[in-house]
């Protein structure tokens, strides 16, 4: 054999060997079998299996072999979506008083990523990070309040009305220090009738090259129309836009022209349900006229969690029962939300992507949903989170789908 042939044969063997390595079957840590997968970023809405290896989605395909999986969960009765993203939450539980604990309020409702909407400002953010963000199983991101002190009150003399608390440079510095966690700036609750809070927040978002979320109380001389047409920038988000204090409808319940104009120029409209920002009497006519939210979020906190029950799956269910489709509702809690905070690593089921997954049940029956005015809408469908996967681990399993029946497993605990 000539030297050339030897080399050639050697290369061939090497190629064979490499092929063999590549084709060695991968063992799945978890296989979600047979669910109705709704992954709108990838234009998927059909029956697929999802194989997970480590904290990543390995494959999304039909008929993946169960024999390759350490654990198989039959989800054929359910919807499978990317882990939901709640764009507006309050989880700084050792900070301002309105916050709740993130994990059970998120993961139990299919939410794997929650964005804290400005509970803390630059002064309190690191405490929030240490006490809550770093310890939560939920991915908690943050919009940093332009007010250094954060949400410690907007009553007479409250820090949220204090322009001296709105240090643009300090906020920008804090955003730059934690770019993985702080996705933007928030302004909220500002009561004086000037534009100082909004304008400083816009500036901080521009300087830090992040997004801005605005909670706005119109005042004489400071109109909502000017906010969304002049002061906010394209890509900025107005939250609470179905709120009672937002003039989104005229006296005949027609959506105002400036709403459409603002949408055209790229202003995003987020629900931010909360205790005072979702009203059937406002949302129903708006949706009938085709003015849908860009993102659906909860504004979950100590008060909104009670009668209006602002969990994400419950808020999604409200929209499902007042004229939006299942796809529209899922889009606005996954891929749209991820885009709105420029986190394209989230909100989809890409192979190779992080394995954050929600398994949802679409229940049919007779259900009541309460709005911020504590009036009810009777609907016939409800979304419930049955199983939640965060970074490849099952962190919520409502029906014990992944659990064994105790009498089948033989002795356990200290029993022999």
């Amino acid at each position: 054999m000539s030297g050339f042939l030897k080399v050639f044969r050697g290369l061939g063997l090497l190629a064979l060997a490499l092929t063999a390595v590549a084709e060695q079957p991968v063992i799945y840590d978890l296989l979600l079998k047979g669910g109705q997968v709704v992954d709108l970023k990838n234009d998927r809405n059909g029956r697929f299996d999802i194989a997970i290896v480590g904290d990543r989605i390995h494959r999304v395909a039909k008929n993946l072999p169960a024999a390759r999986a350490k654990k198989v969960v039959d989800v054929s009765d359910y919807l499978v979506t990317p882990g939901l993203i709640d764009l507006h939450a309050h989880y700084d539980v050792t900070g301002a008083g309105l916050s709740l604990n993130p994990d059970h309020n998120s993961l139990r409702n299919g939410v794997t990523t929650a964005v804290d909407a400005g509970t803390s400002g630059w002064k309190g953010f690191e405490k929030f990070k240490t006490n809550t963000i770093d310890r939560a199983q939920t991915r908690v991101l943050a919009l940093l309040n332009i007010v250094g002190a954060g949400m410690y009150g907007s009553g007479e003399g409250g820090p949220e009305n204090d322009v001296n608390q709105m240090d643009v440079d300090a906020a920008v510095t804090m955003v730059a220090k934690y770019p993985e966690t702080i996705v933007g700036i928030k302004t909220a609750h500002y009561q004086p009738s000037d534009w100082e809070a909004v304008d400083r927040a816009v500036k901080a978002a521009e300087l830090s090259n992040t997004v801005l979320m605005v909670d706005f109380h119109p005042k004489p001389g400071r109109s909502y129309e000017d906010l969304i047409l002049k002061h906010m920038k394209p890509g900025n988000i107005h939250t609470h836009f179905y709120g009672r204090l937002t003039p989104q409808l005229d006296e005949n319940k027609r959506v105002q022209d400036y709403m459409w104009k603002a949408r055209q120029r790229g202003i995003l409209f987020d629900v931010g349900h909360g205790s005072g920002s979702f009203w059937f009497r406002i949302a129903v006519p708006a949706i009938k006229q085709g003015f849908l939210p860009d993102t659906i979020s909860t504004d979950i906190h100590k008060s909104s969690i009670m009668l209006p029950h602002a969990t994400l799956t419950n808020v999604m269910s409200k929209f499902l029962n007042i004229g939006m489709t299942l796809e529209q509702v899922i889009e606005r809690t996954t891929v749209n939300t991820a885009k709105s905070i420029r986190r394209r690593d989230l909100g989809h089921l890409d192979e190779g992507g992080i394995a954050d997954i929600a398994v949802l049940e679409l229940e049919r029956g007779r259900f009541a949903f309460l709005d911020s005015g504590r009036a009810k809408h009777i609907g016939d469908r409800r979304l419930t989170a049955v199983l939640t996967v965060r970074a490849g681990s099952i962190v919520w399993d409502l029906k014990g789908l992944a659990a064994e029946e105790f009498s089948n497993v033989g002795p356990y605990s200290n029993f022999k």
Binding site: L107, R244, R281, G373, A375, K376, D397, L398, E405
Partner: protein
């Protein structure tokens, strides 16, 4: 003298006649539910009327005229608001704010089980007790710093019975007893100091004691010699703290029966690590049930076994306990254990208007234990409406509110 007495009697008669008229101005009337109020031996379809944060009437056929809010509870079960004797809402690293878990489970009172000690109680009061809509009481930790992990929880120098009792005397309505937990040192100093604080304050002790082989402590001695009648052992269906069921015989330990006879109370304290089906099923087979049903509420107990009060009651029912008995052990029994009866734990007229409404749902439900093993059952207790101090705070079926289409340009519907 005589005429004055006579006048007094007439006044009394006038008052008695006037009373039903005044009582019709109810803030809330819960109609037609199956009322289970074990303290009064009631298990019947009745109406419950509320005014000024108190129960004012429990009877059949209460007329709804003048009631500001009427809830149709037909087909549902109406009970006193549940009392969770073992919860973690402060101090402990897994503690959670109670409203979004407790009130949603029909629980209106939680007793924080040792999160705060005498050094931290005031902060606990300010940040949780005074803020929560749930009624929050406290078993104060014998450790001055509370339940903040090691080495603090085993620091005998910080177990001061006098200072603990002094703090209890400052808040006699809020602090209902003493907790000792997680002591990993040798001997009995933690339990002795707790019992001493109990004697000084006249209140019970609740004990979560890890029995290690090298501690020089034994469950028999603890239950029979150290604990007083009325003191509580929590985490009953755990298998590592007190061995309720012997791992060798599979039977309830004789000294456990003896302790019960002498008045030691056994509390469920389900938690993330203290409820095992192999223990619970064996104990239940011998008729050994916890005296009080409680959750050990904290982050991982909610995420894993989902053990809120309704879930724990469902588990007890799956073990053969009937519903009224389970309600008794979740209302009047814990209220008595912390000397809060009849203010709490009953629907007696004059009691706090803390009320829970449930449906008994049929279906297939997985009840998970601390080892994430499940038991499939065919029915469960599902909380639908909770009243706290006379106000509806949870209403999953919208029973207490009108439809929005009927409500006009509402801000808050009545």
């Amino acid at each position: 003298m005589r005429s004055r007495a006579h006048f007094g009697n007439r006044l009394l008669i006038i008052l008695l006649v006037a009373a039903p008229v005044a009582a019709q101005e109810y803030d809330l009337l819960i109609q037609g539910g199956r009322v289970i109020d074990p303290a009064n031996e009631i298990d019947a379809v009745m109406d419950v009327a509320v005014a000024d944060g108190k129960i004012v009437r429990v009877a059949k056929g209460v007329t709804p005229d003048g009631a500001k809010k009427v809830v149709d509870a037909s087909g549902a079960v109406v009970t006193p608001g549940l009392i969770d004797l073992h919860a973690h809402v402060y101090g402990y690293s897994g503690s959670i704010f109670p409203d979004d878990t407790a009130l949603y489970a029909g629980t209106t009172t939680v007793v924080d089980c040792g999160g705060a000690g005498w050094r931290t109680f005031e902060e606990f009061k300010e940040t949780v007790i005074d803020v929560a809509r749930t009624r929050v009481l406290s078993f104060i930790n014998i450790v001055g710093l509370g339940m903040i992990g090691e080495p603090y929880e085993s620091d005998v120098a910080d177990m001061d019975s006098e200072k603990t009792a002094a703090k209890m005397a400052e808040h006699p309505d809020l602090i209902v007893g003493i907790k000792t937990a997680h002591f990993s040192g040798e001997g009995w100093p933690a339990i002795d100091a707790s019992v001493k604080a109990g004697e000084l304050s006249g209140k019970p002790v609740i004990i979560d004691d890890k029995i290690f082989s090298n501690t020089g402590r034994h469950s028999r001695e603890k239950l029979l010699d150290k604990m007083r009648p009325g003191d509580m052992h929590t985490h009953t269906f755990n298998d590592r703290q007190v061995e309720i069921v012997s791992r060798f015989t599979g039977q309830v330990q004789p000294y456990v029966w003896e302790a019960r006879k002498r008045g030691v109370l056994f509390d469920l304290g389900h938690g993330g690590g203290s409820f095992m089906w192999p223990v619970a099923t064996r104990a239940a087979a011998e008729g050994f049930y916890p005296d009080t049903i409680s959750t050990d509420l904290h982050q991982s107990s909610i995420m894993g076994p989902k053990s809120d009060m309704a879930n724990c009651i469902t588990k007890m029912m799956s073990l053969g306990m009937d519903l009224p008995d389970a309600i008794r052990r979740s209302t009047v029994a814990p209220a008595k254990a912390i000397s809060k009866f009849p203010e709490l734990g009953t629907l007696s007229e004059g009691s706090a208007a803390d009320i829970a409404v449930f449906r008994i749902e049929e279906g297939v439900f997985a009840l998970m234990d601390a080892w994430k093993k499940k038991r499939l059952v065919g029915k469960r207790l599902a909380p639908i409406l909770t009243v706290r101090a006379g106000a509806v705070v949870v209403d999953r079926e919208g029973l207490s509110v009108p439809e929005w289409q009927e409500a006009g340009d509402y801000v808050r519907v009545p």
